[in-house]
């Protein structure tokens, strides 16, 4: 269970994607941009279904970073949802826009490439993700358990906003089940 200091929005029996939607909403995140991913699908579904969010797909992840950056400057909080391989396209947009301009782009990445990956390309791409985040000193946390979702998501968004810095939430297959090869 979450620590006693954690705000409570949901019982432990609720699925991760519903908790995450509620925490995004409580933190005034109103714009959800994404390049879709199978693992993210339940979260994308509940965001699309919720009229408090403006939710849409972009053609590339860096396009979504630009949109969320512009929305932040205009007074609307947003997030970018993607899978690991999408994050691998983002180094330029993060390093030349979000970090130097001090814009709190919140990135939510479903982790492919580990714990049973079947695609070697995904496995290699996954190995680039944390080194890129670390090289830019971007705060990132990996969520592995249901009881971590609320606390880590809430605190990460708050810190991103207060410190005017991008941040990444990595959704481990331990939380989501990941993607497995169906035979």
């Amino acid at each position: 269970m979450t620590g006693s200091a954690a705000p409570t929005v949901a019982g432990a029996t609720r699925p991760w994607h519903e908790i995450m939607r509620d925490v995004l909403k409580q933190n005034q995140v109103r714009l959800a941009t994404y390049v879709p991913d199978n693992v993210l699908r339940p979260l994308l579904d509940v965001l699309h279904a919720d009229r408090d969010f403006t939710t849409f797909a972009t053609t590339r992840e860096e396009e979504a970073v630009g949109i969320v950056a512009g929305a932040w400057m205009g007074g609307m909080r947003g997030c970018v949802l993607m899978q690991t391989s999408g994050f691998a396209t983002l180094a330029n947009a993060i390093a030349s826009l979000a970090v130097p301009f001090q814009i709190p782009v919140v990135m939510i990445v479903s982790e492919r490439g580990t714990l049973g990956e079947f695609n070697w390309g995904q496995a290699l791409t996954c190995r680039t993700m944390r080194p890129v985040l670390d090289s830019l000193a971007i705060e990132h946390h990996t969520i592995s358990r249901l009881d971590e979702v609320e606390f880590i998501t809430d605190r990460t968004i708050k810190q991103a906003v207060m410190t005017q810095a991008p941040a990444a939430l990595i959704l481990s297959p331990l939380l989501t089940g990941g993607k497995v090869l169906k035979k």
Partner: protein, 204 residues
């Protein structure tokens, strides 16, 4: 054929204009604190030189993201007109954003393309538009019906008036000459962002 198809003579007959001159003409028409996002390189240098408005945002990297950033501002502030200024090389790098904008149909967004058919800042290597790519045709194919070439300066000014008065999204493409920008933007990203937010009323 809709009315808008007959309003422009197309890229082949568009007058080659000057970026600083048409940027000044554009900025002179901004009376309601419209936001302007200047794409990387000479595009935002000439915007900086035209007038240092608090509602101007100057990119210092992230090539191709002027229109997405402007879209974000437009979504956050639907009552404010937002204009993206972008070069031909830059927009060719992020063509998908045209389809995204066509899908969302922000009424308050316009994109102005400065097409000199070259990556001017890196030594004027030819871009795809030098070999026949037509950004208005691409934009229309992406679903942006209100896309057209400016025939000359007077036509450009009339189109800007329409962008500021009528529902968009709009895309105005201009052919420009090879003159370099007249100044260089101060490269201080935190200051640029803070000033822009104050200009948009999101910081006090």
């Amino acid at each position: 054929m809709s009315a808008i198809d007959t309003e422009s003579r197309g890229r082949g007959n568009a007058k080659v204009m000057n970026r600083f001159d048409i940027t000044k003409r554009l900025v002179a028409k901004l009376k309601r604190e419209e936001a302007v996002v200047g794409g990387i390189g000479n595009t935002n240098f000439d915007l900086w030189a035209a007038e240092r408005r608090p509602q101007n945002f100057y990119m210092l990297g992230s090539m191709g993201l002027a229109a997405p950033i402007a879209l974000g501002v437009a979504l956050a502030q639907p009552q404010r007109r937002v204009i993206a200024l972008e070069g031909d090389g830059s927009i060719m790098m992020q063509l998908g954003c045209l389809a995204t904008i066509a899908h969302l149909k922000p009424r308050n967004l316009a994109i102005v393309i400065m097409d000199n058919a070259a990556y001017q800042i890196t030594g004027s290597q030819p871009t795809a538009t030098a070999h026949g790519a037509d950004i208005v045709a691409i934009a229309r194919g992406s679903g942006l019906d209100k896309s057209l070439w400016a025939d000359d300066e007077a036509h450009f000014e009339r189109l800007v008036d329409r962008c500021l008065a009528e529902d968009g999204p709009w895309l105005i493409a201009t052919r420009i000459d090879a003159q370099p920008a007249v100044a260089q933007t101060e490269r201080d990203p935190a200051k640029i962002r803070d000033r822009f937010m104050r200009g948009l009323g999101t910081r006090e």
